[in-house]
Amino acid sequence: MTLYFLTMVLFVMGLYCLVAKKNIIKKIIGIVIIEYSINLFLILVGWRKGGIAPILMKGMDQKELVEHSVDPLPQALVLTSIVIGLGVLALMVSICLRLYEKYKTFDMSKINRLKG
């Protein structure tokens, strides 16, 4: 339960970083922290006490593996979500680079030509 709580603390920290910081690089770091807190949560969902890695090795009984291993599905999901996160991160950083080129600043409060 404490671990679940800690992932939520991480989530809130990321959200704070996203909302309160003006520097766009820091905002990106905030998004990444949020993403990773969710990934940790997903890993925790599949966790079980005393579980082993869900890999079938030579000389291992399949039934025994199923009884003792942790849930492999969330791990596959986390891998996928990390890959997606990588794509989003690359896009964010490249947009940041271009923004810096145009505005000569990383300060979000000075990048305000549009009024949402």
Partner: protein, 500 residues
């Protein structure tokens, strides 16, 4: 057709990357290939309307272990919207995108967005939904910033940040749902949730989904990115984003999850109705004061999507009589189709005006009806349609929604809907006065009608506006009735797990 259902994502995905290779040989080939992909997808999508519902097992793995693809009335309807509007936007962009560099990359991103949206609509697996949603979103972030100027980059960055938060919220919801039910297959999740019943965990998941998909659909408290992002994109992309993306990613997902997985509930219904009414009213008030043509249309998108959410919200309510709930839901879905048609037409018109005059400020335009008659006529038809003038399509769907609300006893929402329709009409009359009629500025003396490839999609969309309004019983029997019945029939959805 049934055996080749995954081609809806495979064709655009493959063509997106094949296009990059083909463009190295010749740009014309890349134009043609992109058009070919969209044309074949549209034909397939229209054919899907006449298929009975079925489930497709990817890789031959039976559910709940394998990925399940679902074809029913709702997904067929969305497939038609996505692919037909996509085809028209693609025809439009072959000419329009000449003014930008790297056209083949534009096609790649466009087709990736189509692949993502088709995937969201056809999938029956929660995590698969998330993956396709991210594909469509990432492509759209890049497309919004495609111009690479100050405004585009800023809008794209805002959209990226908020879209990223929305995606993480959705992933969180999916993770939580997996921890509750132990499965990701949508019908299986629904069955497991039926056994658990309602508790705090399920409520939390619903809240996460409403916030996440609400951000994607830009209902009002979550709307800040849309008025920046949609106008900044190139015109065909604005049409795709406003006309299709917010529906496929936002409203469709909410409807599918709330109706089929969680089941109708009074609380969720009142929340969704409140969000819908709020977006409807706030959107239209913000729209009235705008000078920028595309920005005004973007605010109207928020407002019109409010109608759709309102209709779907009442459909979710188990306490009103089933006939009225079905009527409201029907109105919402009908308005979704109509909005896709007229809003993409309006955005494409704004692009055509911008292409010839070089400005988006509607106060600087005027008298364009004399110089660009075809574009102006289509713009007029679409404006009449969005303002709810009979016999155009927008009138019928608004009428149905308002009628259902007044009849169901939600007088406030009904009156608000009438009021918003009135405000929308005022706003579009002003638009027409400013842009189409009035005095022609001197510097526009020499402009010509937009090129044929740009007017063709406009004419098709304008004809659709009128046709859906007049031939309404036909559209009704082919598309809408099936979609409505699908949403209301949870048992049929659950039976997909057994395989049809």
């Amino acid at each position: 057709m049934q055996g080749y259902y995954p081609l809806f994502t495979a064709i655009p995905l493959g063509m997106a990357f094949f296009n990059l290779l083909a463009a190295k040989i010749n740009q014309k080939i890349s134009d043609f290939l992109a058009f070919l992909a969209m044309a074949s997808l549209s034909v397939m999508a229209v054919k899907m309307l006449f298929e009975a519902p079925f489930a497709y097992h990817v890789g031959g793995w039976a559910p709940p272990f394998g990925i399940l693809l679902i074809s029913d009335g709702l997904s067929s309807m969305l497939l038609v919207i996505i692919n037909v509007i996509g085809l028209l936007a693609m025809i439009y962009s072959t000419k329009y995108m000449d003014s930008y560099t790297a056209k083949e990359k534009y096609y790649t991103l466009f087709l990736l967005m189509i692949a993502g949206m088709n995937g969201v609509v056809i999938t029956g697996d929660l995590f698969n939904l998330y993956v396709f949603l991210e594909i469509a979103s990432i492509a759209s972030y890049a497309l919004v910033g495609f111009g690479c100027e100050k405004n585009e980059l800023e809008a794209s960055f805002k959209y990226l940040i908020l879209g990223g938060v929305a995606s993480t919220l959705i992933l969180f919801g999916i993770a939580f749902l997996y921890s509750l039910t132990g499965t990701l297959n949508m019908p299986d999740v629904a069955i497991e949730l039926g056994k658990i019943g309602m508790n705090k965990g399920v409520g939390f998941v619903m809240a996460l989904f409403i916030a996440g998909f609400g951000l994607k659909a830009s209902s009002v408290p979550f709307h800040a990115w849309l008025p920046d992002a949609h106008p900044s994109a190139p015109a065909p992309i604005s049409a795709m984003l406003s006309g299709v993306l917010i529906k496929a990613l936002g409203v469709y997902s909410i409807a599918r999850l709330m109706f089929h997985i969680f089941g109708p509930s009074a609380l969720v219904s009142s929340i969704i109705m409140f969000l819908g009414a709020l977006s409807m009213v706030v959107g239209v008030f913000l729209a009235v004061g705008q000078h920028d043509f595309k920005r005004m249309l973007a605010y109207h998108s928020i407002s019109q999507m409010g109608y759709v959410t309102l209709g779907i919200g009442l459909g979710l309510n188990p306490n009103v009589s089933p006939a009225l709930a079905a009527l409201a839901l029907f109105g919402g879905l009908f308005h979704m189709v109509n909005h896709a048609v007229f809003k993409s037409c309006l955005f494409l018109c704004s692009g055509a005006f911008e292409y010839r005059t070089g400005t988006r400020d509607k106060l600087k335009m005027g008298g364009l009806v004399r110089k660009m008659p075809v574009t102006s006529a289509t713009c007029s038809i679409a404006s009449l349609s969005i303002s709810g003038v009979p016999p155009f399509n927008g009138f019928w769907s608004k009428l149905i929604i308002i009628f259902a609300f007044l009849k169901a006893g939600y007088t406030i929402y009904g009156v608000l809907a009438i009021f918003v329709a009135f405000m929308t009409m005022i706003s579009f009359i002003r638009l027409q006065m400013n842009v189409l009629f009035g005095e022609l500025p001197k510097r526009f003396e020499k402009i010509k009608e937009a090129p044929f490839l740009m007017t063709l999609p406009l004419v098709v969309l304008a004809i659709l506006c009128l046709a859906i309004g007049i031939a309404y019983p036909f559209i009704d029997s082919v598309m809408l009735e099936a979609a409505k019945d699908t949403l209301l029939d949870q048992a049929a959805f659950l039976s997909f797990i057994a395989g049809v």
